[in-house]
């Protein structure tokens, strides 16, 4: 589960999911359930709808309360970043495209946007986590929390789109991974 930054980054795919419906990653299995995608304006008012979409997906995937909260937090932080930095501060307007895919191994949430190019994995870990609040500089905490809060986070650039992929493994798959590793040892 602990991977280096480079290993978390994925190769650049050729087309957007919403254009091609192509399979995005090897994480998807034949019995993958896809929720109806959500497309919302890239505005702060859309955060509620995005959160509701993610919460519904966590319920369908039977995630426990803590994992569900953390996934919602991760998606919320990246969506907020897209809206404030990718669109608003750049003087751009656009949408956020949300997808959820569920299979026996994982819940995968995908956010796409047409804002400024931004790869969250390239952001340095905040170096002020131990400093008192008086000495803190605002910024960087949201992305840090987002990446910390899921099992795997990937970023891809697809033409004009940023694609952020959040993966949370099911508890059953984590358990079987644990036993697999132990039996191999």
């Amino acid at each position: 589960m602990h991977e280096s930054r480079d290993e978390r980054e994925s190769p650049i795919a050729k087309q957007s999911l919403f254009e091609s419906r192509a399979e995005i990653t090897p994480f998807l299995r034949p019995h993958t359930l896809s929720m109806k995608p959500l497309i919302v304006a890239g505005e702060l008012e859309s955060l509620t709808e995005i959160a509701q979409f993610v919460i519904k997906a966590t319920q369908k995937a039977s995630l426990d309360k803590k994992a569900a909260y953390l996934l919602r937090l991760a998606v919320d932080e990246i969506a907020t970043n897209i809206i404030t930095h990718g669109y608003k501060q750049a003087g751009l307007a656009g949408k956020i495209y949300c997808q959820a895919k569920i299979n026996e191994n994982a819940l995968i949430i995908i956010l796409e946007d047409t804002g400024v190019i931004y790869n969250p994995l390239q952001q340095e870990k905040p170096n002020s986590l131990h400093k008192p609040l008086e000495q803190r500089v605002v910024g960087g905490l949201g992305v840090y929390l987002a990446i910390q809060s899921v099992d795997k986070f990937r970023y891809e650039r697809l033409g004009e789109r940023n694609r952020n992929i959040f993966i949370v493994y099911s508890q059953a798959s984590q358990k079987s991974l644990f036993y697999d590793q132990n039996s191999r040892a």
Binding site: L47, K66, P126, L133, L141, L145
Partner: protein, 106 residues
Amino acid sequence: MSLNTTLETTNDTAKIFLSGELDGSTANSFQEKIEEVTNLALNRLVLIMEDLEYMASAGLRVLIFAKQKMGPNVDIYIVGAQEMVLDTIEKTGFHHSVILLDEYNP
């Protein structure tokens, strides 16, 4: 998603009750409450979070704003924060700069 904030000030203490969800779309109302008290001669800012169900980094940003605006002599108390809100506070090192309490009994 909504956030409700209620402010009470007594002597040297400002107490803000937060309930609901604190994210990028609701953090402004929290910041406005902080702005109402930054010019008062306070020693304590007490944030009652028992009914706060969710907090994103937008909430942490307001805490930085409060501390920097009110100065080092004002202690910030966070009271009754729920498990996952507390988890965020601790992951980001904010617990070193605020006083965490289960209950507030001045």
